[in-house]
């Protein structure tokens, strides 16, 4: 199955709604509670990253026999330095976002720790983050 969601920039009040829906879909596919929590944490971090840092974009869920894949694709402005962005504690979040408890610089490291596959590509035209969860067999 494929499902696509639109996400607006700076829409903090909607944050979590898409992750919550994806978590429900994970449950409907018989994922264990532990796997559902990994999906929820990773999706929420990526969702909030798009809200805080991007001009908005789309999230696409794609489930096949082996994988539960989610692609986060935004329309810019891109991540200047991917290596720095992956370092725990590094953040470019605004002071406003930080005052709400976001921008701890732990989002991308949290995602990487919770997924079975991870791909991050970025240019000024946009960032693509793909995360995958194996539906069967080995787990992290």
């Amino acid at each position: 199955m494929i499902k696509t969601y639109d996400l607006k920039a700076n829409d903090f009040t909607a944050a979590g709604a898409i992750s919550s829906d994806i978590k429900k879909i994970a449950k409907s596919y018989g994922m264990t509670p532990e796997m559902m929590r990994r999906v929820a944490v990773s999706c929420y971090e990526a969702e909030i990253n798009m809200i805080i840092h991007s001009h908005g974009g789309q999230i696409q869920l794609n489930v096949d026999d082996d994988w539960f894949n989610i692609v986060f694709r935004d329309t810019g402005p891109g991540i200047d330095d991917l290596e720095l962005a992956m370092q725990p504690g590094w953040t470019t979040a605004s002071l406003d976002a930080q005052s709400m408890g976001f921008g701890a610089g732990m989002g991308l490291p949290n995602i990487k720790r919770n997924v079975d596959s991870f791909e991050l590509l970025s240019s000024p035209k946009g960032t693509l983050l793909r995360m995958g969860f194996r539906r069967k067999g080995a787990s992290i």
Binding site: A15, S19, K23, P33, R37, E45, M100, F102, M106, N110
Partner: protein, 109 residues
């Protein structure tokens, strides 16, 4: 300890009921949301200073047993509605964070 037992033992104000008979399995304290997302466990009570709507989303996604707001803080109507929709129990402690946690430790959590 269940949520209803905690409420009776503390007299803290319950602003949303949630699943009262669910057990509380430990406590997590944090205001940095990614720190909470990355490190807290399901069924814990989450103690925080944060009061905006995203707190409810995180409490729901992480499956916390109860959200404990400190220092008499409350949440706005939208966040409260979201808590009702997601069945999240919320207690408000009148005590500052340190004393709130002290109380939870005294109660054996």
């Amino acid at each position: 300890m269940t949520i209803v037992e905690l409420t009776q033992l503390t007299n803290w104000t319950m602003i949303n009921a949630g699943p009262l008979e669910n057990s509380i399995e430990g406590v997590f304290v944090g205001d940095l949301l990614s720190y909470v997302m990355g490190n807290a466990q399901a069924k814990q009570a989450w103690v925080t200073m944060q009061t905006h709507q995203n707190v409810i989303a995180i409490a729901s996604l992480k499956e916390f047993s109860v959200l404990i707001l400190v220092d008499g803080n409350s949440i706005d109507d939208e966040a409260l509605q979201s808590a009702k929709d997601n069945d999240i129990a919320i207690l408000v402690s009148p005590l500052p964070a340190y004393e709130t946690i002290q109380k939870l430790v005294q109660l054996g959590l």
